[in-house]
Subunit: 228 residues, 2 copies
DNA sequence: AGATCAAAGGTGAGTGCTTACTCACAAGAA
DNA sequence: TTCTTGTGAGTAAGCACTCACCTTTGATCT
C-alpha cells in the first residue's frame, strides 16, 4: 500500500467520523478502526488529531461541486430559476445519500457554526465567489426585463436567504428520523422553489413560466413580461 | 443553600457549557467549576453527565418564549406581518446577547440536528403547536381578503421555510466573527421580512402597507386589496 | 538470478494524562 | 443526634500519542 493511497483512505474514514460525531466526539481509535489500520499507523501519517481535522477541512474547502456548468449560462430570468431549482435539487440529493461527501460537508459546516465558524466562512466565501455574480447578474437581468421587482442595496442577501432556507430544510431531514416532515417530496421541492423565487421578487407569471416549462426551452431568452 | 436552588445554579452553568462546547466537548469538571462547586456535589444532584444533559434539554423544551401575546391577535394579514416581523426581530435580539437563554437553545438545537435530532423535533413540535395555527389562519385570511396568493396543500411548509431562513441567518452571525455580513442591520432585517412575506405569497401592496405602517394601526382590519 | 540490506509500511503493547464517577469524611442546621 | 450540604482525594476506564519491533518492498551488488 502506497503512502498516498493510505493517506486518502484515512482522510475518507476520518471525514465520516468527524462529520458524524464532531471533533471532540471522535476518537483516534475509532478513526483507525474505520480505516482498518492500527492507531500507530494513523499517527505515522498525521502528527496529531487536530492536524488530521484541519486537513479534512482544508480538503473539503477545495472540493468543487459540479456547478461550473451554471456559470456558463448567460444571465437571465431563466438562468436564475434554473439556479434556484438546481440548488433545491442538489440539497434534496444530499438528503438521499446521507454518507456522501456533500452530506459530510454539511455536517462539518454546521459544526463549524457552533465553533469559531471559520470553516463555514470559507465555504460561504467559496459559494459566493462561484455563483454570487451569476445570481446577481441574472437577478438584475430579470429586473430589467420586468420579470422581477427592483431590489434593495444588497442583492446577495437574497441569495443567502434562499440558501439558508434550503440548507436548513435539508438539516431538518438529516437525522435518521427527520425533525420535520414536508409532505410529498416533489411537491415540497416545488413549494420551496416558489417560496424562494417569490421571495427574491420574481413575479408570478415568470415563476409559472420558467418553473413549469422546466428546461425544455430553447436558448432564446425572451422576458415573459414582454411576451405575455 | 437549598437543594433546589443549587440544582438550578448547576443547570444554568451546565447549559452554558453544553451550548458552547457540545456534549462530548463539555467536561463535568468544567461544569462544576462554572457552578463554583466541587465535582462531588455535582454528582450528588445528577447521577450522570447524560442525565444532566437530558434534563437541560427537557427544561429547555418547556421554557416559553414570550409569544403568547401573538396568539391573542385575531387572524389577519396584519397579524401575519406582525408575526414574521417579530420572528425576525426575536432572532436579531438573540444575536445581540450570545450568552442568553435563547442563543443557548439555538446552539443546543443545532447540535441536536447533528445528533439524533430528537431535541430539535420537540422544539419544532412546540413551535408548531404554539404559532402554527395562528400562522395558517392568518395566511388563509390574507388569501381570502386578496392580500395573498392561494397556497398549495401545505401552508405550514411556508412557515418552516421562513423559520429556516431566519434561523440560519442568525446561525451565521453566532460565531464571534460572523460567517456572513448582511450589511446594515435594520435594512437587512427589513429585507429578510420582505423576502419571507413575498415568499409566502403576500402581494407588494400588502407588504408595503403593513410593513411600513408598522404597528401604528387601529384594530379594524381592512384588507388593503379592498381599500386600495 | 539470487543474496543483501536499508528504508518504508505496519503493528500492538505501552505512556502519562484526563475523564466520569465514588467515597470517606467534615460542617452546620434542626 | 441525625440529616443534608459540601468537599477533595481517589479510582478505573479512556484518551491522544509513542516506541520498539516486525514485515514487505525494491534497489544494489555480486
Amino acid at each position: 500500500m502506497t503512502s498516498d493511497l493510505r493517506r486518502q483512505l484515512i482522510l475518507g474514514a476520518a471525514k465520516r467520523c468527524f462529520a458524524r460525531h464532531g471533533f471532540a466526539g471522535t476518537t483516534t481509535k475509532s478513526v483507525a478502526a474505520a480505516a482498518s489500520i492500527s492507531e500507530g499507523l494513523l499517527f505515522k501519517h498525521f502528527p496529531t488529531k487536530s492536524a488530521l481535522y484541519a486537513e479534512i477541512l482544508a480538503e473539503e474547502c477545495a472540493a468543487d461541486p459540479a456547478l461550473h456548468r451554471l456559470l456558463e449560462l448567460e444571465p437571465s430570468t431563466r438562468t436564475l430559476v434554473t439556479l434556484i431549482r438546481e440548488m433545491v435539487q442538489h440539497f434534496r440529493e444530499v438528503e438521499a445519500m446521507p454518507d456522501q461527501e456533500d452530506a459530510q460537508r454539511l455536517r462539518l459546516m454546521l459544526a463549524s457554526h457552533l465553533d469559531d465558524g471559520e470553516f463555514a466562512r470559507l465555504i460561504y466565501e467559496k459559494i459566493s465567489g462561484l455563483i454570487g455574480s451569476a445570481f446577481t447578474a441574472s437577478l438584475s437581468r430579470a429586473i430589467q426585463s420586468g420579470d422581477a421587482r427592483p431590489v434593495g442595496r444588497e442583492p446577495m442577501n437574497l441569495f443567502w436567504f434562499a440558501h439558508h432556507a434550503v440548507l436548513m430544510a435539508t438539516l431538518t431531514r438529516l437525522p435518521t428520523t427527520p425533525c420535520l416532515s414536508y409532505g410529498d417530496a416533489p411537491e415540497s421541492d416545488r413549494q420551496l422553489c416558489e417560496f424562494i423565487l417569490r421571495g427574491i421578487g420574481l413575479n408570478e407569471a415568470a415563476i409559472a413560466h420558467y418553473l413549469d416549462r422546466d428546461l425544455a426551452w430553447d436558448s432564446g431568452e425572451p422576458a415573459i413580461a414582454e411576451s405575455a
